[in-house]
Amino acid sequence: MAQSGTRAVTALLHAWTKGDLTARDRLFSHVYVDLRGRAARYLRRERPGHSLQPADLVHEAYLRLTDQQRVAWKNRSQFFGVASQMMRRILVDRARAHQATKRSGAWLNVTLDEGAIQSQPRSCDVIALDRALSELSALDPRQGRLVELRYFGGLSLEETATLLEISSTTVKREWRIAKAWLYRRLAMPTAGCRD
């Protein structure tokens, strides 16, 4: 089962590289189901207060779902992109479900701005961030991917640079303005979209 799954994911990555968009969609759903199931199982087993790091799940999914010897460099980048995007969806879906049930309890604790001062978007939720990030992606697709990889995929600066095939300096520069833009957007919801 695991073997054939690995082959399937690797084949989907290859097909997608060749332009097969059905393969891309199938890959999305495959990775989504896998990550969601893992996250659920992890949370069920874990002691209260322990937190789940998306980066662990995303890296683990890469090792488990792909045949690394047959995955080309481009595929690796695609995979992490997909996994980060799916992690984002899982977290946002959960936050929505949580909001819908209107139950108290900090099931989802998204770390935003731990060191923030004043009445800034300290407790802003993952749903608002998701929305702001979609707007940022429309403005600057590469920045959108960068934030997705770093924040939802938990990838380091260097890993992100490698995957996006840009220098670390560029990642740092882009990250900084993306962060400022999102922060401003969340702190002042009407900022940046007056045009």
């Binding site: 695991a2 659920a40 207060g49 789940l52 049930t101 604790n109 403005l139 303005i177």
Partner: protein, 308 residues
Amino acid sequence: MIPSDRWTQIKALFAEALDRVPDARPGFLAAACPDDAALREEVEALLAADAQAASFIESPATVMAVANTAEAPPTMPSLHAGDRLGPYEIVDFIGAGGMGEVYQARDARLGRHVAIKVLVDAGARGRETLERFNREARAASALNHPNIVTIYDVGRASSGQESVGYIAMELVEGSTLRCVLSKGALPAHQLLDIAVQIANALATAHGKGIVHRDLKPENIMINREGHAKVLDFGLARIDAPSWFHEEPVATARPVEVSPPIQAAHTVPASASEAIPFPSKPCMRCCVRDRSGSGAVAHASHRREFQSR
């Protein structure tokens, strides 16, 4: 939305301003965009946000595990509507218990709806859980009684990358007795009716040498017609005779266990002694007294119980 060439300009000015010490930035921006106040303000606002953002989104998103208490929100189901598990298509998440998750599913071959209990990865308790799962399947499938939930199918199927065990059973549309009771005490005649149904179910099980051992209001479903269905034979003892020499299992809650089982050292002589068992959940139906002591039960209810 900001046009992309405008955004490119903003980015360039932002990066250049950051290369300067904070005090030199206003002068730099004033010089860089002398006749575009809006552009300057935009960059200034981003610089101000940058100064405050510090650790904002620097740590990746995390999800916290919480205690599995009544206050905790429902656990995250492993499967979702539309997912497939062997011949079954998941329709909805019903709930999660100590040993698995229960979903409403549709059997594509027969077009009927079923309840499907899925054995999820239970970590360190995996083996114990698997045993319990198998025991439930064996015990309940050995029984054919209108007041015992019918088992349709037991098997394994792949879910995502893994193979999971499942038990497909009759879907009982209704509520658990616990839920019914939370809405208020039941009239005596309804209560007696439920008690008799449960007693009949248990008598049939005992006749086959199967003792439920975990009977509680959560494990009794009351369907829309008012019929009781006993669920969850996960702790059942099959081959009753050996059970009569054992300690009660710790998972059964003392408040629900009948006196002969509580007094484990004075073991009952036969399975029929475990039959007073339903009296505790039922007594609660009258008095809503969690201890089930019966002290506040209406005397006539108690007499009726005893006579039945």
